[in-house]
Symmetry: D2
Subunit: 333 residues, 4 copies
Amino acid sequence: MRFFSDNAAAVCPEVMAALAAANSLDTAYDGDRWSQRLDTVFSELFETQVTALWVATGTAANALALAALCPPWGSVVCHRDAHIQNDECGAPEFYTHGAKLLLGDGKGAKLTPDIVHGLIDTIRNDVHQVQPAAISITNATEYGLVYTPDEVGALGSLARERGLGLHMDGARFANAIVRLGCSVADVTWKAGVDALSFGFAKNGGMSAEVLVFFGDKHRQTTLYRRKRAGHLLSKGRFMAAQVLAMLDNDVWLRNARAANDAATRLAAAAGDRLVLPVEANEVFLRVGADEARSLRDQGFDFYDWGVGEARLVTSWDSDHGAVDRLAAAIAAL
Amino acid sequence: MRFFSDNAAAVCPEVMAALAAANSLDTAYDGDRWSQRLDTVFSELFETQVTALWVATGTAANALALAALCPPWGSVVCHRDAHIQNDECGAPEFYTHGAKLLLGDGKGAKLTPDIVHGLIDTIRNDVHQVQPAAISITNATEYGLVYTPDEVGALGSLARERGLGLHMDGARFANAIVRLGCSVADVTWKAGVDALSFGFAKNGGMSAEVLVFFGDKHRQTTLYRRKRAGHLLSKGRFMAAQVLAMLDNDVWLRNARAANDAATRLAAAAGDRLVLPVEANEVFLRVGADEARSLRDQGFDFYDWGVGEARLVTSWDSDHGAVDRLAAAIAAL
Amino acid sequence: MRFFSDNAAAVCPEVMAALAAANSLDTAYDGDRWSQRLDTVFSELFETQVTALWVATGTAANALALAALCPPWGSVVCHRDAHIQNDECGAPEFYTHGAKLLLGDGKGAKLTPDIVHGLIDTIRNDVHQVQPAAISITNATEYGLVYTPDEVGALGSLARERGLGLHMDGARFANAIVRLGCSVADVTWKAGVDALSFGFAKNGGMSAEVLVFFGDKHRQTTLYRRKRAGHLLSKGRFMAAQVLAMLDNDVWLRNARAANDAATRLAAAAGDRLVLPVEANEVFLRVGADEARSLRDQGFDFYDWGVGEARLVTSWDSDHGAVDRLAAAIAAL
Amino acid sequence: MRFFSDNAAAVCPEVMAALAAANSLDTAYDGDRWSQRLDTVFSELFETQVTALWVATGTAANALALAALCPPWGSVVCHRDAHIQNDECGAPEFYTHGAKLLLGDGKGAKLTPDIVHGLIDTIRNDVHQVQPAAISITNATEYGLVYTPDEVGALGSLARERGLGLHMDGARFANAIVRLGCSVADVTWKAGVDALSFGFAKNGGMSAEVLVFFGDKHRQTTLYRRKRAGHLLSKGRFMAAQVLAMLDNDVWLRNARAANDAATRLAAAAGDRLVLPVEANEVFLRVGADEARSLRDQGFDFYDWGVGEARLVTSWDSDHGAVDRLAAAIAAL
């Protein structure tokens, strides 16, 4: 019973069916009829004109987004616990050709305008110092919290005021939207976001994420960067088909809702053990070493998170019975 | 009736079945049981210990290989018509952090020791000049010719003698092996090859290629480079499963044989129109503009190749009837 | 008696005096009163508003210029014998983060519009191919020929038409100007040049070159790149002072004239042995191995240039007697 | 009366004389007789075989050193206030092709083994995380403190144990040595230092620093990197001559002693206002805004350092009278 990562989840049936349906002769790269629909479909979803490009990983989406927003001599403000800092082996530095990440603290991996000010206000505007160029936030965060449209908007205002780009790492964007109940526009471009890494793989996809730019300013250069990074797959139709299948009939929201609901059930059982509120599909628990062992002995698999904490991640396909058993086991600790 | 690229071909049924079979909960990234088998399976295939890493594109495989073999201040000798020079938007330069490609001429996109000597022998061994570090050849070449084990061996000897790495771009390696009838060992490491980009996507796969290093010297650094480039997919089991399915029962050879046979049938019809011998799955024809239009009017889709030439590419799933009709149409020109 | 490089020449007395005169307390980096005059002084010289930045080497000037004109996924057209290709260990690739150089042929290391067309017209405008972004020419060339304003203008027109930047490597710009007798404006921005590496070190300076951009479009980003490359010297006043001293009273022209005159005297002695016309301060001679040895035995130091040729370079301080003796020795061969 | 930077100081007479003495025809780049002596002279000084390369700036020396010690996917532990982090516009990231700096806190910009452990011990040894590769310390620090041989040795032991390189930014190395009274060997290679940026420019040089590697492991690659970065000056003899002149007769120590003595006199006057002990040539004072204004009104020039602090930097040529007047003015505040 695996609760260690939504990356370990299966691929949802609609995606598998879409792969089969796309398996006919078509044009290579992104000239096929599926890929060619992405801009339109995502523009409708976001209620504005967007550039929507598939890539195979969230790391590639994030790094391409940051390369568009930040020059080699710039810096990107992010949280100290951000995926781009801790889990991408320096992909942002590789793609930006050497930009810096400026690391902020903040509860639950969330940035606030105050934190950003604290990082950038002391930077002298001279050539000796790397200049701030962008802010990157993760929604839902690496700790399972969500940014509301207002919270994003406050960062968006600061970004505009200071001439910074705003990137949102949405590896779990669907989980955030389900929680927020807002439109996808509200929490992105309407709040000042310039680029969104829209995650599908953790949410039931196989190997496709979508990099969304609001507007087309960064389209042309990003197309070159994507190719140059080896991320223009030759049979791109299988990338686009995954994504389109998940947008059809709101499969992406259905999947995320299932994951969030499972996490909520675990949270209810956890009570005071919760390190943070559960707002998406991640549950952080205080557990002693013996307790963690006990849970593992009962067949539950998860990550230890530092000392005395455990991270449980639910997914679109989390087995109801397993979730119930885990909830009971937590309650019984 | 599409003959413009084997990238446009469908995915073969064994791969589709393998994707379905791999669709269960497992570990993320490359810790799953499919990915974990790659080294073993490829080591058996190549009769020596290899490092076998999946990546999503041939461009990524090539660029990672070259980054392993060539420092930023080095150069890679390749043919002027090589894919790494013409069709990867500078991926080798991106991954190597700015190495140069030294461009040789040679019939059918093939390098010879003489050509390599002509490029590197005049380079002074001082810090003012970028130093040669590797040779990259494509087998089968971009013009559908194959390098024999002896031909590769001659380049391998030169490489060893001069301290250069030897990389083989095997986007159509299967087609070359079918043609050569030799073991995969004969034309790679036994002939001095250090790294092979082993193509599967053009040959019936969906989105997986394998970067093979002979030995493990470059394993650790390449694992970092792969992650850093955003090429460590989160659900890597679907990458490995594709490849394993194609190695099982020699599906990869069966597929390539079908493609080669189709090309051979077209070649027989083409007679004097052939620009080059047909040794794999590409046919280059001399055709006038009117003739090209006539073929297109009959429903055949292909690339013009410079002035007065056309490129026809067959694939594992080239329709027999379509091939026969095209052969007849060519003969009737 | 050294004729192998103008890099080996001494520093002219005006520069030495200027270094002494600048040796007082002042502001660091480029905030000092010498550095602050550069834009003004060079704008007057060029009869237009320019950005003038000192750097310590021609390689840095060239690489910074190309980084401003060419993105990482772009290419720079240059001659196969260009210094940026052969003698800078890949600095352009380092500073541009991996652009390509496209190599043209042409007598005496000169490009023509036809040669440029031959290199760029076959490049498809798609993301698979590195797109041409700039042309770089050297004036005087690596073979001692000069581009006239008309010749530069023809390339400038092509550049404008195709949206390319135009860079001039002027390591021996002074020698070219002396030969041409035109204004510096005529052969640069009036002819379409965007950036000039204006050389001083070979012409009697110690360690300063000036990167000139016509206009200020690239000023801000280049200031960051220069610092980031470690080329913002802490005592920049000694850089600016060298250059200002050479512009004062046209010392730069006087020095170049002396070098050109010495080369002309050698050329007159060489007669049919000349490989190319002598238009600046380099003389390429056909000499047999025995003849070269004979010259060396007489105390003349120079480079062999391929097989059967020798390169003689004169400088601002070439000793008159030594030049006469060499001229006589050549005539006597 | 300038106390804002030792970069603003004049060039000492021995260096000026050496430049004049080197002003004769010689070989270009670093083939001249001055440059060729560097390895020997520095090996004697350090009592071990070293590689000694001139560069024009401390930024270049630091960045080249770090590029030798840290791969693109590695990180360098340094203090949050380190010059490499705050004052080099990302040069380390540029030269390393995108490594990270890990920022530690510590009084007076000094790292300790505990601080380093705190930064690296939580890094998982997997490909998702950038791996620590080096430690960089500054001696004397940016806050004018010195590391003793024992303190360096403790970091050196940790570095060896964890397979990290150890770099010392010695922009004010001379000031540290004067304070420590130890041999240069004691505080460098004998304490585990792999690379030293040995500063001369702040200490009376004009434009030369020396990058010292202990041993020759990094020589060859660094020669290529230096050239590729545009830091191989064509008239390198003027670089080497500066340095040799400062080593002759211990001019470098004499100069540093003068600077340190001046700082000590200011410190004595400052009493309780001192933010930190004065161990080299920098004095950090607590001063109110009115007090700072008063000092400036009396003609003293210095940097404000955050809120309520001022930085005073003395140099080899600090005027005795000016120092005395400033000391009196501080005492009178």
